[in-house]
């Protein structure tokens, strides 16, 4: 060894070594920048049904997008590089397109190869994506005692929902299904949990499967008396809410009265 260390190092070899060290440190450094958006929780995303708590979700997701491919309403998108270590992970922008469970069988959960969307759930009411919150009650049409007529989100809105009465199997654009309501109740009317409960109460559970019946209500409209004789109602979120985001998507006012908070149930809280 002593002899070897006395041998002069060629300047070319030294340069190559230094270059390699700089490149190595540089690449690892750049990669670790991906930590910042994750640690800083820059993007508290609503994740697809069955998503594990955020840290475990990011660890177990293999970033393949198979969940994206099976969703009948194309609710799922993949995160970009600005989300650091979260790049390629699936999320749902509920206002643009919520998960309406029109696949019934949680196709994204079945598609997930790693269990990042846990395979332990089978039915919509077993999911826990987040919880809806009434954040702007003063904007709510029902609170103002107003009805709603027309396309819930306007003609240009591309979001889709499955309307059982129109087509049991295929979702259609919300813009093709105008409403005529004396008092706006869209959030409750389109809630997938409430729709299933109503079907079960009528003795016709989805696919004739009793297990599809949610055990609890998710949303209710409660009478509100302002003392002016106008019929007013206000939406109240109940324990059965799974955070699918349909109420946020369908809310016809801008910005939405109800938004989903995906942080509490999935370990993303501060």
């Amino acid at each position: 060894m002593a002899v070897r260390s006395k041998r002069p190092v060629k300047p070319q070899a030294r340069r190559k070594f230094l270059r390699t060290v700089v490149m190595g440190v540089g690449l690892i450094g750049v990669t670790l920048l991906g930590y910042i958006p994750v640690l800083g929780r820059w993007a508290a995303r609503l994740r697809p049904p069955g998503a594990l708590p955020e840290q475990q979700f990011l660890a177990s997701c293999i970033k393949c997008g198979q969940c994206v491919q099976v969703c009948p309403v194309e609710a799922i998108s993949l995160a970009d590089l600005d989300e650091g270590f979260g790049v390629g992970t699936p999320y749902i922008d509920a206002r643009a397109q919520a998960c309406d469970f029109s696949c019934d069988g949680l196709q994204c959960v079945l598609a997930c190869p790693t269990g990042a969307l846990t395979h332990e759930i089978n039915y919509p009411h077993e999911t826990d994506m987040g919880i809806a919150k009434v954040v702007r009650p003063d904007l709510c049409l029902a609170v103002q005692g107003r009805g709603f007529s027309g396309q819930a989100r306007g003609a240009a809105f591309t979001g889709m929902l499955r309307y059982d009465a129109v087509d049991r199997w295929n979702p259609i654009p919300v813009s093709e299904h105008p409403y005529e309501l004396e008092l706006c109740d869209l959030c409750m009317r389109q809630c997938p949990i409430e729709i299933r409960l109503a079907q079960c109460e009528a003795g016709t559970p989805p696919s004739g499967d009793e297990r599809q019946c949610p055990p609890q209500h998710a949303i209710r409209l409660e009478p509100l008396d302002a003392g002016d004789g106008i019929t007013r109602m206000q939406p109240v979120i109940l324990d059965g809410c799974v955070g699918c985001g349909v109420c946020e998507m369908i809310c016809p006012v801008e910005p939405a009265v109800i938004v989903i908070d995906g942080t509490e149930s999935r370990g993303m809280g501060a």
């Binding site: 190559k16 070594f17 270059r19 390699t20 490149m23 190595g24 690449l27 690892i28 750049v30 990669t31 670790l32 991906g34 930590y35 994750v38 840290q55 475990q56 990011l58 660890a59 177990s60 997701c61 293999i62 970033k63 393949c64 997008g65 198979q66 994206v68 491919q69 099976v70 998108s77 993949l78 970009d80 590089l81 600005d82 650091g84 270590f85 790049v87 390629g88 598609a111 190869p113 790693t114 269990g115 395979h119």
Partner: protein, 325 residues
């Protein structure tokens, strides 16, 4: 066995070594003497090479390989976009007509970060392991990886610029790829995030093709610029842990490129086109220890050397099936 040891050591970054005199079969020396005196053959090869240099023939095998690579990636795209459901998912994990497949390095990152192994992921990993073991390991790189194709085009540009003396190749120490592999594995285990996936150009490109482009493509662009202007094929040669993972898988693969000493006149055409020229060290005069030598584990089985060789001294070999080409 010592050949496998050397192949692995070179895969991990050791420089190829010159064999000692007693390691070389004595008949080989006689062959070298015989070849040196075969001046008519040498003259013929020189003329052929001069002709090739003047009228560059199309690299047919390379074009076929590109077609395969594009088809594989296109199959992902059309499976989703046209909903034909042949190959769903992306390069990191997919289902081929329903069968789970998982990229070995991505699966490793998930297993280390999450520390649980789901049966579907295990099935996908084993399937892919067996598949790429049969096909040669790093065959994934040159026949399937979308970044490889872009890097090949960037390399063509780099070589053109280098010919005009506008750029110069700055090689790195190849051992750095082994360090990257270890560090990325350790980072996944320690941080609990699939850290490597953040910068994997393979995953980024595959997702961009299938699900649409995004900001992440800027990173891929920067890598390509680095390779064009600073260091030839830097990512595949010195950085990619996916390549090393598949190299380890393919070390014992039955599919090899094999070198035949008796017909070789050591022009070195093969080493000029090779992504990993250290695997072709054996073609240098005086380095081959046997008459037929299997090319090492780092070889991507791209076949460019097979096509470039003027004396057909490199051939694809599937052990038990004989010469493929």
């Amino acid at each position: 066995m010592s050949r496998l040891y050397d192949s692995m050591a070179e895969l991990l970054g050791r420089e190829p070594r010159k064999p000692a005199a007693d390691e070389i079969d004595p008949q080989i020396r006689d062959i070298h003497v015989g070849k040196r005196n075969d001046s008519t053959r040498i003259e013929k090869i020189k003329i052929e090479l001069a002709h090739k240099a003047a009228h560059k023939p199309p690299e047919k095998l390379r074009r076929k390989r590109w077609a395969v690579l594009i088809l594989v990636n296109l199959l992902f795209v059309v499976s989703y976009q046209l909903d034909i459901q042949m190959l769903e998912g992306s390069m990191t994990a997919s289902r081929f007509v329903g069968f789970h497949m998982a990229d070995l390095n991505s699966a490793l990152q998930v297993m280390l970060a999450y520390k649980h192994i789901l049966i579907n992921l295990l099935i996908g990993t084993v399937t892919v392991f067996i598949g790429w073991w049969l096909l040669g390991g790093r065959t994934f790189c040159s026949w399937a990886c979308p970044y490889h194709l872009l890097a090949e085009w960037a390399e063509m540009l780099h070589l053109k610029l280098a010919e005009k003396k506008l750029v110069k190749d700055h090689p790195f120490d190849r051992r750095v790829r082994t360090w990257f592999w270890l560090i990325f594995a350790a980072l996944a285990a320690v941080t609990g995030y699939t850290v490597y996936e953040t910068i994997s150009p393979t995953g980024i490109l595959s997702r961009a093709l299938i699900y649409g482009p995004g900001l992440a493509l800027i990173w891929v662009g920067l890598l390509l610029l680095f390779e064009i202007f600073y260091s030839r094929r830097a990512w595949c040669r010195y950085a990619c842990p996916i390549g090393l993972t598949y190299g380890l898988v393919g070390a014992t693969s039955p599919l090899k490129v094999q070198y035949h000493l008796d017909s070789c006149f050591h022009e070195g055409e093969c080493r000029k086109v090779c992504l990993v020229p250290h695997v072709l060290n054996t073609v240098i005069k005086g380095r081959a220890t046997g008459m037929n030598v299997d090319i090492g584990a780092d070889c991507t089985r791209c076949g460019r050397c097979v096509e470039a060789c003027p004396t057909s001294s490199l051939t694809f070999k599937f052990k038990g099936l004989g010469d493929l080409l």
